[in-house]
């Protein structure tokens, strides 16, 4: 499960934990999570096969979303996440026991979740879409 490996990577990167502490969540943030925080979601994992069955090579698509109370906070956190994962081939690197062949960024998107009620300040986020080729 490469998403567990991604969590281990982010939780082990001081530049990220200096900002979010332990607030790195799968799927959705914890209720009343303090600012700032990271949420990651695995969209799907494609298992590359050969005639003899499933090979060890897999391709996962993961979205990592960085939340902050303002635009700058979200951007700073997203940059730390981006740097932690890297942009180029990461041959020889392992995430949670998975040998990562390459972690490659696909898209970046800025979003604003507007206030839902009077005392709500809204939240800014940066979505980073990541494709990871890895072997079990």
């Amino acid at each position: 499960m490469i998403e567990k490996g991604l969590y281990a990577l982010l939780a082990g990167t001081s530049a990220v934990t200096a900002i979010v502490g332990t607030r790195i969540y799968p799927g959705k943030a914890a209720q009343n999570a303090g600012q700032r925080y990271v949420v990651y979601r695995r969209s799907f994992t494609e298992h590359r096969r050969n005639l003899r069955g499933s090979g060890s090579l897999k391709r996962a698509t993961i979205t990592v979303e960085s939340f902050g109370a303002n635009y700058n906070d979200a951007k700073t956190l997203a940059q730390a996440v981006y740097n932690a994962i890297g942009e180029n081939g990461t041959s020889g690197v392992t995430w949670g026991g998975h040998a990562v062949r390459i972690a490659r960024w696909e898209d970046e998107t800025d979003e604003v979740i507007p206030p839902q009620m009077g005392d709500d300040a809204g939240v800014f986020s940066v979505l980073l879409d990541l494709v990871v080729w890895y072997a079990v």
Binding site: R48, N50, L51, R52, G53, G55, L57, R104, V131
Partner: protein
């Protein structure tokens, strides 16, 4: 009933009994052939009935066996040594229902890896028969 391609494998050995130095080619993605073709020998004569052309079967050519294989450095190097040695080996394709295609051949072609964007590397192995291939139901 149809047979799935799953678990089909390609092997080679030094002898037709596949008991000496048997090696399985790792990571096959697709296998094709042998492409058996009999030559069509024209036997038409000017007095052929109904002015219909006639023919008889000529020699049989098994043409080639091709395999698309997921690239690994070790697997590619192993076949590369065999290619450069121009050795004739006995090849065997075994299908899920245990039926087999077997015959002798040499590596006629070993393509460089295909390097597409955002996909795995593959290469193509082409085997040319040196004699007739046979099919055994199991």
């Amino acid at each position: 009933m149809a047979v799935h391609s799953f678990d089909s494998k390609l092997e080679y050995a030094d002898d037709s009994g596949f008991s000496t130095n048997l090696v399985e080619v790792s990571g096959p993605i697709s296998l094709e052939g042998p492409d058996r073709q009999a030559t069509r020998v024209n036997s038409t004569v000017l007095r052929s009935t109904g002015a219909i052309k006639t023919s008889i079967a000529g020699f049989i050519d098994d043409n080639t066996i091709t395999a698309t294989i997921a690239y690994t450095a070790a697997g590619y190097a192993l076949l590369g040594v065999l290619f450069l040695a121009r050795s004739t080996k006995y090849w065997r394709v075994t299908l899920l229902d245990t039926s087999k295609l077997t015959g002798p051949g040499f590596i006629q072609g070993l393509s460089g890896p295909s390097v597409p964007e955002d996909d795995r590397l593959t290469f193509t192995l082409t085997i040319s028969p040196t004699a007739g291939w046979t099919h055994a139901a199991s």
